[in-house]
Amino acid sequence: MIDVLYFAWVRERIGLPRERIETSAPTVRDLIAELTAREERYELAFADLESLRVALDQELSSFDAPLAGVREVAFFPPMTGG
């Protein structure tokens, strides 16, 4: 089980801020493939990975990073703080 969090327009497209997911996906990219296969709203949210960022346990990471041992995955657009 892994916590998956969504922020900004990713959250709006998927329609919820977080969910717990049962998955054995070895990498972030595999998890995204699982999710997009599920429902159109995921396909819509993950259509352009170039415009997405991912954090694993609150650290910016890459889509090819392994998920083993990770408790929290977050997807969001590029940050616009400051």
């Binding site: 959250r11 609150q58 969001f76 590029p78 940050m79 400051g82």
Partner: protein
């Protein structure tokens, strides 16, 4: 060093005075304050979403880096989230050092990293409705100078 992530408005002047009052050995204080722009009245408000937990980690790490790179007497970051009105302060950075070059460089470094590496997302609520602020290429570009 102090980091505050809050929904409530803050008073730029009071924060600047508090920051300066605690300093010893500083000759230079730089503050940066980001305001919600009122584009001729077109923008009425802003909503800022953030990632609690990661926000504090990411900014803490950026502040540690600033302290390692420059001879800082002190540093402060305040960043708001939630609903903000036009002309309200969004965030503030303050840096203090013996000499101005360190204080300016650290403040600009902190700003460049906060813009693109701290997990905040701005939504502008204007006359045409709400829209997520797009990341600017020049903000990503700005990181390369450090």
């Amino acid at each position: 060093m102090r980091l505050v992530v809050q929904a409530a408005p803050f008073d730029l002047g009071a924060e600047a005075n508090d920051f300066a009052a605690g300093l010893r050995g500083a000759g230079a204080v730089v503050t940066f304050t980001g305001l919600v722009r009122d584009n001729g009245g077109a923008l009425s408000a802003m909503e800022i979403e953030h990632y609690p937990g990661m926000t504090e980690r990411a900014i803490g790490k950026i502040m540690d880096q600033a302290r390692d790179r420059w001879a800082l007497t002190d540093a402060l970051v305040i960043h708001r989230f939630g609903r903000l009105l036009a002309r309200e302060p969004i965030m503030m950075v303050a840096t203090a050092a013996a000499h101005r070059a360190d204080a300016f460089a650290a403040a600009e470094f902190l700003m460049d990293y906060l813009k693109s590496r701290a997990p905040f997302w701005k939504k502008e609520i204007g006359a045409d409705g709400p829209s997520w602020v797009a990341a600017r290429d020049e903000d990503e570009e700005a990181l390369k100078r450090w």
